[in-house]
Point group: D2
Chain length 317, copies 4
């Protein structure tokens, strides 16, 4: 719905053609809300429509790879939500189909399009901090998802930390070569019963020599905590949280309201910007800013992080 | 254009019917950009259309009062940009026409719909700071407008400080009774040659006993400076500037980028919110949140501020 | 006691010779605490001691002028707490005695020696903010003094705002030419019954064209509020409050502890630094950094501020 | 010299009796500066003086253990700078001597006495953040020490990170059970030639389940970077850097001056406070706040961190 509304209302060079959902009523509701768009349940039918140039895949993760293949074979450009799949072989088949078809594929790592990430990346690229020595990301959710979601999520490393794996690759501009994980169940024992963890810290070594750390928690009492710092030979840049207002209160303490509660508020602009960038790439026939390889590597990293946790040792990438 | 785009794209319960502008090409360009809206140069013709419920007046200030009267007599609800007029008699005639017609009139004091203002107002209303003793507003533009604009603007007190006069009334919830002004030409002598000032500070006494100060400057080297503090018996609330990102850089200094450059970026959401509120008031037949009297009083204050400056003495309101 | 301990322990080039106090026990207690210093109740006797080079006068305000005269006539250099007196004629007689004797006189405007004030002054002097257009000082005490103190204090303008009058002169580097006051009793009616106010705002015009505002309150619920901003053609510098720690807590709100509670904690270093500077001036025969005129002008300003309040009009200085 | 001046001038219940240094001139200079204290080169002679209750050992690290033993056998209470030694057997012999003699031994982990550390520890102890899940410490020096110093320093883990090992133990209130290190030479190849690293990150598991990370760098371009955060089930507390002033400048950027340059400025108060606490413990016969075990465990951790780095695997503690 978010993506559909962005395309329909916020991106002048794109036109929303139709909506499909396995739930026909959901598809119809979305189509109605956006002003008489065509709705359906069969993506295959939609892919036959020659007036359609591109598709946005935001269905459940297990459908991503087959839909990418189907769309690529239909010659459509593709925007697909992360992760492509939890299985590298399936990812590789999907990427091969995209390659064969010569269509564009952009993966939905929206945080690259956040103002903080853009500013930090540009600081690195312009030499404002010299050679990067360290990257540290804090990513904490306000509350864990329901058990049903966790079961199908691929676990913390592939569902939640995957965004941070993408971010460290994006910021460092190179690959990680080694990963070590400490993790545990500190928030909710039910998450542990599902075989997952709810708190994790990983340490990474990058090809440029820099050392990375990422920490995730499924729960804070104070909203969505999304911070990062890159430290280098000439300085440091740190992205702080964003807030719904900038009002300071002086009373028993000196305080401000909590940061944005969760990702829809916090990353609102980035969802619009990533689709805008995809549409520009399609319209101008430019390379997409987040490629299939960018979709694959964070899955490799997430699988390795989990293996390091399971085996209690550093894992080479 | 901003208001038109907001109505067309951001406010689901409103539909943009047509655009008029004395410049036919401008009207057409705006209408085209928003997807085939009707365009014209004659508001009178548009006002005859029975399918139109409400109008948004954002033409030059001298046309506000006559257009309000014309729209009220046509039975349309009215949103009008500030100021209604520089002449209180003209304002009173316009408000009388609105009263007679029984239509709604909302004045475009958009800053009341800014997240900082909303939070500060709610802090006061909920007793978070006790009885207000002080209100202080800093409002500094990044650069002065062109001389042509200044000539027709009514001067700093009616063009720029009028927003702050509205804000102190909104926050204090009562009227000012006395005003004293110090001002000068510090930014650009050309502004002085036009009989205007570019830097001003006013002090106000309110009916609730609180003392207010407002300071304006037409120029900073660091973007748009929009801060305010209300101090009371139980604490203080202070609205800080808003920034395009939340990235801190540690290098020669500990720094962040400048705040938003000017009002379009800084108050973007408030422009959407004020029209949203107007549309809700019209659709639900509720009172508008910024009334004709709210439009009149800041003009009274602006005229008194100027008189205080001219006569070098405090002026009763 | 504070000054005595600073001289005895913190300023290597000074030696504390003796302590006098009208209360013999208090003098003795202070002398004992500082390790066997001579104590007495008669300053005249002490002034005969040829080994004593300088005196620090921190008795009640009504004794300042006579003690200055007595010390000057004894050829001692003088550090005297603010204010010299509430009566300009008495101040002038004291300054004349100092002039005749050729001794040094430094007035205890300690805030000039605070790190924030030093940094802001140096920013102005180095051109970091260009030509000053505005200076704004917020000075709020955590709690009003006892009625007994207020009776003898000279009132808010001569007791409390006098520090801010000194600060604006220090920062602007020129005199104020006009002052306008709004004030009231908002904190405690008992203060009003003594003929004093507890909340005041003054507006000042300076010789350099800049406009100043100072606001004082006798009471906050959040400790000592000591902030100031100077805005100019090339930027702005703002001194924020100082805090006992730099710990941020993220919970129901994002908060930190209140700032330093009152002047002893907040301005601790400045009390040491002002005496250090006095001792250096004496030892090196350099000019003192805060002169007799610097002690006189804030009294002139305080008297004018009160007159403006009493007469409801701006007062020329 | 710092400790001597603190005892001589800042701690009323202690008296500085004498100074010894292998460099007689240095001892004399220090003694003269503090006002006629006895100076010498032989600690053994001093230890015979029955009027001396306690000693402060701040000689080079290799002398710590023998001096502790000598002082303990002379029945003196001991304050000793960190680290006790790089060799655990020597540490154990020194601690055994202290135990036998029944004297007090406090180790100089001054940062526990810093206002940020005290506030964070009290937040944890009072339940403000619930159960700790994470602790993260950033500790970066402004510039690497000379090669001569590095040679004798024990390396980054025993010289620099040792403070952070103490801090995580202090904050968590339990021991670490596992450690994993990534490190490198990023600042200066000369440090690598000495077999040391200049940049390191360690990950720790604690007995309470929490996961810790510590990062060190020998060089920033922006002064001394000393931050830490503890995150728990009910919130987070974060200690920010301390600054020489609290002045914000608005110009090309919104900036403030760099934080305190190095440990003498940053931790000034903590050096005074730790000795104050030692003196109180001696005078009141209370337990010292930082014990011999507190001195031993960070050495264990530093040795394990180095082993983890050398062997590329997590090391159990």
């Amino acid at each position: 719905m978010l993506h559909a509304a962005n395309i329909a209302q916020q991106i002048p060079r794109a036109e929303l053609a139709c909506i499909t959902d396995v739930d026909a009523a959901a598809a119809q509701a979305c189509a109605d809300a956006l002003g008489g768009i065509r709705a359906g349940t069969d993506p295959g039918e939609m892919l036959k429509d020659p007036r359609i140039d591109a598709v946005v895949i935001c269905s459940s993760t297990d459908t991503h790879a087959p839909l990418i293949i189907e769309a690529a074979e239909a010659g459509k450009h593709i925007f697909c939500e992360k992760p492509i799949d939890f299985d590298l072989a399936k990812i590789d088949r999907a990427l091969a189909a995209v390659e064969r078809a010569g269509v564009k594929l952009q993966i939905g790592f929206n945080r690259r399009f956040d103002a903080n990430a853009i500013r930090i990346k540009s600081a690195i690229d312009r030499g404002e901090i010299g050679a990067p020595h360290r990257v540290h990301i804090i990513s904490r959710d306000p509350a864990p998802p329901p058990a049903e979601y966790i079961k199908r999520s691929g676990g913390l490393f592939l569902d939640m930390m995957i965004h941070d794996f993408d971010m460290v690759r994006f910021l460092m501009g190179c690959e990680a070569t080694e990963i070590y994980t400490m993790a545990g169940v500190m928030v909710d024992p039910a998450i542990g019963e599902l075989g997952d963890v709810d708190t994790a810290v990983v340490m990474l070594r990058f090809q440029n020599g820099a050392i990375g750390t990422i920490e995730n928690s499924r729960k804070t009492v104070y909203g969505y905590d999304q911070r990062m710092e890159v430290f280098g030979s000439e300085g440091s840049v740190e992205g702080e949280n964003l807030y719904p207002n900038a009002v300071i209160r002086r009373g028993e303490t000196i305080s401000r309201d909590q940061p944005h509660y969760f990702f829809l508020e916090r990353y609102e602009a980035s969802y619009r910007n990533e689709l805008q960038a995809f549409v520009e790439a399609v319209v101008n026939d430019d390379p997409v800013p987040v490629t299939g390889i960018d979709g694959r590597m964070p899955v490799v990293m997430g699988l390795a992080a989990r293996r390091s946790y399971d085996e209690g040792r550093p894992v080479a990438l």
